[in-house]
């Protein structure tokens, strides 16, 4: 932003020398013209952002006020907030919201705990540390579709590897897909598998910036490794943990690819009784299976509100904690 701009000091020195000069053009305009290259350089980002983020965002809000179909998006009738009212009264919405919450908790909590543990282990001086760190990030580099297709087969009722293994050790086969908890567990496993390594790496990076003296001091005080982890590592990681919780929460609210592909036959109902339909999947079903684009836009906005709410709550809780600590 400082390209081609006068430094404030220069401006101050220059001004008193010519008191009779005509008043300078308004500061804002001069800034604009003097910084034009800066604006030119950032313009492409904002153009792309406008075309592919801001415009769709506002257009989605506009569409959500209409009753309209996919093949005639601009020809809908304006219905005001009716879509929102219907959504709040729809048991499909509440079912999806509940599933999103339970799958989110099932996937996020163990995931972050495991990531923290893994990061702690990898922070020790281990032989082949780089190898482990790379391997850990591999699931993250796998496409959701590929991973889910493989997991869906592993969790298959008749020919799945997991059921074969269960049977081999004398347990009963589980119809993973048709049960509520079993299907949500299976989807949570896919999410956990994919994101644990990613979060572990973030934790690891933060851990490495914790000064070693803290640990030394703790050791002198006679703290065990576990106590060190609890009283040195975790408090130092708090901002990072908050960050990962926020990012995981957003991911959990938007969960879509896993439940869609887990069904295995392209249906969007999220199981025979909607037992693993998430908000993202509901939105897709409304828009692209049932072609009610207005409803889908409404659900999209509801998801956005939920994310804002959850992230806001997170911030408030974080601030209260910080104040309590002071």
């Amino acid at each position: 932003m400082t390209i081609a701009s006068q430094s404030p000091a220069e401006a101050l020195v220059a001004a008193p020398l010519r008191p009779a000069a005509p008043p300078p053009p308004p500061r804002r305009r001069r800034r604009l013209s003097q910084n034009r290259w800066g604006y030119a350089y950032v313009a492409p980002f904002f153009l792309v952002f406008g075309a592919f983020s801001l415009y769709p965002f506002l257009y989605t809000a506009w569409v959500s006020l209409h009753r309209t179909s996919l093949s005639d998006i601009d020809g809908g009738t304006f219905v005001g907030l009716e879509n929102y009212r219907n959504l709040l009264q729809s048991e499909f919405f509440w079912n999806a919201a509940r599933n999103t919450l339970t799958i989110g908790v099932l996937a996020t909590v163990p995931q972050l705990c495991m990531a923290l543990g893994l990061a702690h282990l990898l922070n020790y001086k281990l032989r082949g540390r780089t190898f482990f760190r790379t391997v850990m990030l591999m699931p993250y580099a796998t496409s959701i579709a590929a991973a889910t297709l493989v997991f869906a087969q592993l969790f298959g009722r008749d020919y799945g590897l997991i059921n074969t293994a269960l049977e081999a050790v004398g347990l009963e086969r589980i119809d993973w897909e048709s049960g509520t908890w079993s299907s949500q567990f299976a989807i949570a496993v896919i999410v956990t598998w994919r994101w644990t390594g990613y979060n572990a790496l973030i934790y690891l990076a933060a851990m490495q910036s914790i000064p070693g003296e803290l640990y030394e001091a703790a050791e002198i005080d006679g703290a065990s490794r576990w106590k060190q982890f609890l009283h040195v590592t975790i408090p130092s990681l708090r901002p990072t943990i908050v960050f990962t919780i926020v990012v995981s929460t957003i991911g959990a609210v938007q969960l879509f690819g896993e439940p869609l592909l887990f069904a295995g036959n392209g249906t969007t109902s999220g199981g025979s009784s909607g037992q693993y339909q998430t908000l993202g999947l509901l939105m897709y079903q409304q828009g692209w299976s049932n072609f009610h684009i207005g409803q889908a836009a409404t659900t999209a906005w509801a998801m956005f509100m939920i994310i804002l709410l959850v992230v806001g709550l997170n911030a408030v809780v974080g601030r209260l904690r910080a104040r309590a600590d002071r």
Partner: protein
């Protein structure tokens, strides 16, 4: 093309109907990006007829319209016609239904294996369920096998045997009042509740894997399903499957599937496209389509062609598929179709799955299906 030196045909291959339809819809909405010829599948032809008839060339208004109409079964022509008589496309294949069965598994279970005899034995769906109970009770049936792949198999076939399926005459969804839905639900929910099915979800991974693993002994099969079964089983398993008439077919036949070719009127080469569509859907070409790929003609002239009538399928134990499907196709009534048939069918078949997998009471499952239907139609 020797006869049309100026014409080059570029063909796109589509794997699945659903994503194709989505892109077709967005292109119709945008009014651009349409190809000179667009395939129209039974799952969405009703929507195109009701909402986008103006975007397509009206074959009913062509000079040779009467001639063209005579090329097709009246129900096939009718499904592509709007209320004011516009015809958005010409028919390619049709999906007359039969019942495919595993000869070897029937034999093991002590059931008859002669296709004509079976046709008699299950002349109604109630009798078919009786045969299913006999199969399930048989101590010698192949272990871990079920009589039929899914309740959906029974439902999707029998629903079109009613006077109405999902819609009234005007194409408005009436699943609660339809006689086809009522009777189909009765048969399919019985089968689901009694555990006569393998309870697979059709076209899912496990369903696909179930074919070579001999997990079920029958499946309601539209003509196009035969090619599918063949590719799942592999050529070396020829002779284990056979084809018998569909239960209830003496009273009423059923059609599942089929497609049309339409010409968007905004296209660049409308005249050439019309010529090509007329040629592609003419009876002679439909005969070849059946004898080569197994897609059954939507033209009675083609269906009555000796090459079709006399066609036997070696993979299916030499079943006279041309004759079986021909009889079925000739008996199909014009059941009104609507824009939400795919979604409604999915609502009912998932509810049936729920009966079989979670023990939901059929009445409750029916309620669920109706709710899902209402959500799909979206008041």
């Amino acid at each position: 093309m020797e006869l049309h030196p100026n014409v080059t045909i570029k063909q796109n291959t589509v794997a699945q109907s659903a994503p194709y339809y989505k892109s077709l819809q967005t292109r119709l909405a945008a009014g651009s990006g349409l190809d000179d010829i667009q395939g129209l599948e039974i799952g969405f032809i009703a929507d195109v007829v009701a909402n986008h008839a103006d975007a397509f060339v009206d074959f009913g208004a062509e000079e040779n319209a009467e001639e063209l109409e005579a090329n097709f079964y009246d129900w096939k022509w009718g499904q592509a016609s709007s209320q004011d008589g516009k015809v958005v496309g010409l028919g390619t294949d049709a999906g007359p239904e039969a019942m495919c069965f595993r000869k070897d598994m029937f034999e093991a279970a002590g059931l008859p294996t002669d296709r004509a005899e079976l046709g008699e034995l299950w002349s109604t769906w109630d009798e078919y369920l009786e045969v299913a109970r006999r199969y399930e009770a048989s101590p010698t049936k192949p272990a871990d096998s079920a009589f039929v792949d899914s309740p959906a198999s029974i439902f999707s076939a029998s629903v079109y045997q009613g006077e109405t399926a999902y819609n009234d005459e005007d194409g408005n969804p009436i699943p609660e009042e339809s006689d086809g839905v009522e009777s189909a639900w009765g048969y399919a929910s019985q089968a689901a509740a009694e555990g006569l099915t393998a309870n697979l979800s059709q076209f899912g991974d496990e369903w696909v894997a179930a074919f070579p693993n001999d997990a079920f002994a029958t499946i309601a099969c539209p003509a196009w399903m035969l090619g599918y079964i063949k590719s799942q089983m592999g050529e070396d398993r020829a002779g284990v499957w056979d084809v018998a008439p569909l239960p209830g077919s003496s009273e009423s036949a059923a059609n599942w599937g089929g497609a049309w070719l339409g010409v968007p009127s905004s296209g660049k080469n409308v005249e050439a496209a019309k010529d090509l569509v007329e040629w592609l859907t003419a009876p002679e070409q439909q005969v070849k389509l059946f004898t080569r790929t197994g897609h059954f003609p939507s033209s009675p002239q083609a269906a009555e062609d000796p090459a079709v009538v006399g066609h036997v399928d070696e993979f299916f134990s030499g079943a006279p598929t041309g004759e079986i499907f021909g009889k079925s196709a000739a008996a199909i009534k014009r059941t009104p179709i609507g824009p939400y048939d795919t979604q409604i069918q999915e609502a009912f078949t998932t509810a049936l799955t729920d009966i079989a997998s979670s023990g939901t009471k059929p009445d409750d499952a029916f309620e669920d299906a109706i709710k899902a239907t209402q959500q799909a139609i979206g008041g």
